[in-house]
Symmetry: C2
Subunit: 454 residues, 2 copies
């Protein structure tokens, strides 16, 4: 029933509550910043160069790109999906650690430009549909699915992308269930890849594979009509030994809106170490007030949620990519510089003696009584001072969300190195107003016009 | 170690034993027949039409196609992969029920034509490499991986395709391990899809995704270097609750050759019901000798391996696709016509009253003391005669392999409806000699020349 129920819900949904629409716009806005900001990353260039011999008709924009700025919809979905995730700076549905927008928006924008005449309003509804479906599916198999080793962003994202594009296409109920099925057999993403280029491949491939599923279903390609709930269907196969709660979660579609619980990363690294970075930045402020040198930290003890140890305990990251999974690095730059933005994750910063010296004085202790957005930090300074911080809810968490102003700062911070300062401001204004666009191709044009600034 | 070991083995392999080479040629020959034979199936047309707006430069042949007979390598891999499996007539590595050649050969041929200058010998070595890796991986996670619901053909095929193409490309060891990793995160295929178009999508998508993995690794895209064996790597995540025997199986690479155990289907349907069809065809012969009408069968009792019940117990298939998973249909046409070729799986045959009348008089009983290629058939005729058959090893099994002559008959039987009788003979000769080709593009040309016959 879950497959049919989802297909019906997606087909029948006309509008979404205003709070949901706001959440969708913030999600899309944050996505655009991430995708443009990631567009000049070496992983994206490598993928672009390797795949360009296979590019089809250039209908769909590669966000942020100046040259060769369009390709076919499938490759655009793949490359924008990689770019959106490559700095680990995207959004997070905290209850599942899904980064929901990347796979879905990458597929949607690529298809919308191919199709033409898609309004911003339609885009936001389709994005919402995709995010709701992927997050409900994620909740249905959480936590065993993630525990066993699946990268839940892409395993659920491919299905979200398929239904979202199917919604834009106006697929009928049966076609939509076929799209769901074709997407469900492409289970993409393993946590083992965290720290390599392949991690960002996951949302990219989820985008292109979800798009492909919708395209094939539209062409009459058939699938099982109980792809999700069957004995050997998606949920049971990928549940990692747990009992999926498929019917229970699917029944909440349209009643609780997962997109409203979507959060945005203030720091470009694994979200579980954000509380520690938040605490470190506050300590930096306190040290400044007390005129204590951050370089003269004697020892730092972090009491952290167990996932921090599991996911981000790289004690000696060798470059920026590995540093994203090092709570030690994040905490060190927070203490030293009072910032942990993209600049603090550059390879040379990660390898600098100043950072390493502080990093090596940090230890972490797992405490399963803590919430995921909570941390205790105890710092001993060489001058004898002790500083303590307790972060109950880290910045960027559901309880302490980033404001629109903070999101705009983050956007400009990401986009300026690609499109220039002025281009970034123009792009930001265009992205905030995408919901009003009669044809989102107009917005893509504005983003392209801004490219001249590079 | 498994990932590194495989990469080393693949890179270092220069030649294969002559028995292995023969098995590779037979596998490739059978594949070409299946892919050409499946090329005019509606599932292939639907996929072709849906995806054609995204086609890139036309470098690679669509086997059997007359019009629009080339596309980009990725789409060629996908579409040929679908065609090769769509009649469920392909090869089988019986120890794992993997149909190994489809994903790998589809990726290889598509890439070889793109690259140019690939000899038949290189192609056969690369095919062998891919099949060895996918079958060893399949054995390492068998049977729990299959039991939980993965379609093992495509879950292992995507990795086999990546290493095979990587071998043709001449990737270095580290690049090859990256290709392995990028392939391993794309886990494609659920058994729930058996009976829908999506089943044949599995090997197609495994082909295009494996090719993509090799292409990206060649472009410097990185992955985990322990993608297969890591705690949250491929084997542990997809093992379905079992304990993978990865090191044990990988150590046998080059010592035992899985491709030599590859078998070829004499009937275009689920392999587990082949013993029953074999028995039914023998019964048909016996009835003819005794001048008994096959239409006047009173009852048939089949004692079968449990997988027959699990996989092929559709008692009332509604069309040819469903009939492939009906031991009842296969047995009925075997009894009635003494044949179970593609013609006996046409929709109108499946729906005919004559077939249904016999089909409804067949019952099956599961017997776990039987081997997978074994069956007992007990037939009661309306005239009072009782006939019994015990098939110890079905035709097409490892013990009773199809001869080259039988393979040729099967090839021509499949290819003639697409390329005409004369075209089928020409194609057969070309396919048998592919190992001697200096550039396999020549063979593709011959296959294309034959197309004029349609």
């Amino acid at each position: 029933m879950a497959t049919k129920h989802i297909a019906q819900w997606v087909v029948n949904l006309q509008t979404v509550p205003s709070t949901t629409r706001i959440a969708a716009l913030r999600s899309l806005y944050n996505y655009i910043g991430c995708a443009v900001g990631g567009s000049n990353h070496p992983a994206v260039s490598k993928a672009h160069n390797a795949l360009s011999p296979f590019f089809g008709p250039a209908t769909s924009s590669l966000l942020g790109h100046q040259k060769r700025s369009r390709t076919d919809a499938q490759h655009a979905a793949l490359l924008n999906g990689i770019a959106s995730h490559v700095h680990d700076y995207d959004d997070t549905h905290l209850a599942t650690i899904i980064h929901p927008t990347g796979p879905i928006a990458s597929a949607l924008l690529a298809w919308a430009e191919y199709q033409g005449g898609v309004s911003g309003e339609e885009l936001l509804v389709a994005l919402t549909v995709g995010i709701e479906v992927s997050c409900k599916l994620g909740l249905a198999v959480w936590p065993t699915h993630y525990d066993v080793g699946w990268h839940i962003t892409s395993t659920t994202g491919v299905i979200g992308a398929a239904v979202a594009v199917g919604k834009l296409m106006g697929l009928k109920e049966l076609e939509l269930s076929h799209a769901l099925g074709i997407a469900a057999v492409q289970v993409i993403g393993l946590r083992e890849m965290f720290g390599s280029d392949t991690k960002s491949f996951h949302p990219g491939r989820a985008a292109s594979s979800g798009l492909l599923a919708a395209v094939m279903a539209r062409g009459g390609y058939t699938s099982s009509e109980s792809a999700l709930e069957a004995k050997r269907g998606w949920a049971n196969v990928v549940a990692g030994g747990g009992t999926p709660r498929l019917d229970e979660l699917v029944a909440t579609l349209g009643e609780t809106w997962e997109i409203e619980a979507n959060s945005f990363k203030p720091f470009p690294c694994g979200i579980v170490c954000h509380p520690a970075i938040d605490a470190a930045i506050r300590c930096h402020g306190e040290m400044q007030e007390r005129r204590l040198s951050p370089a003269a930290v004697k020892s730092v003890k972090l009491r952290v949620h167990p996932l921090v140890v599991e996911l981000t305990s790289k004690a000696r990251p060798k470059d920026g990519l590995e540093a994203k999974f090092s709570v030690f690095h994040g905490c060190a730059v927070g203490l030293l510089y009072g910032r942990a933005g993209p600049a603090q994750y550059a390879d040379d910063v990660v390898a600098s003696q100043a950072v390493i010296a502080v990093r090596d004085r940090i230890e972490i202790v797992s405490d399963d009584s803590l919430a995921a957005d909570e941390v205790y930090l105890a710092l001993h300074h060489e001058d004898g001072t002790n500083l303590d911080q307790h972060i109950e809810h880290a910045i960027g968490s559901v309880k302490v969300p980033m404001t629109d102003v903070q999101l705009t700062e983050k956007f400009v911070d990401q986009v300026a190195p690609v499109l220039g300062d002025r281009g970034a401001r123009t792009a930001s204004t265009a992205a905030w107003s995408i919901g009003e666009a009669e044809d989102i191709t107009q917005v893509m044009q504005i983003l392209k016009a801004a490219e001249g600034a590079r």
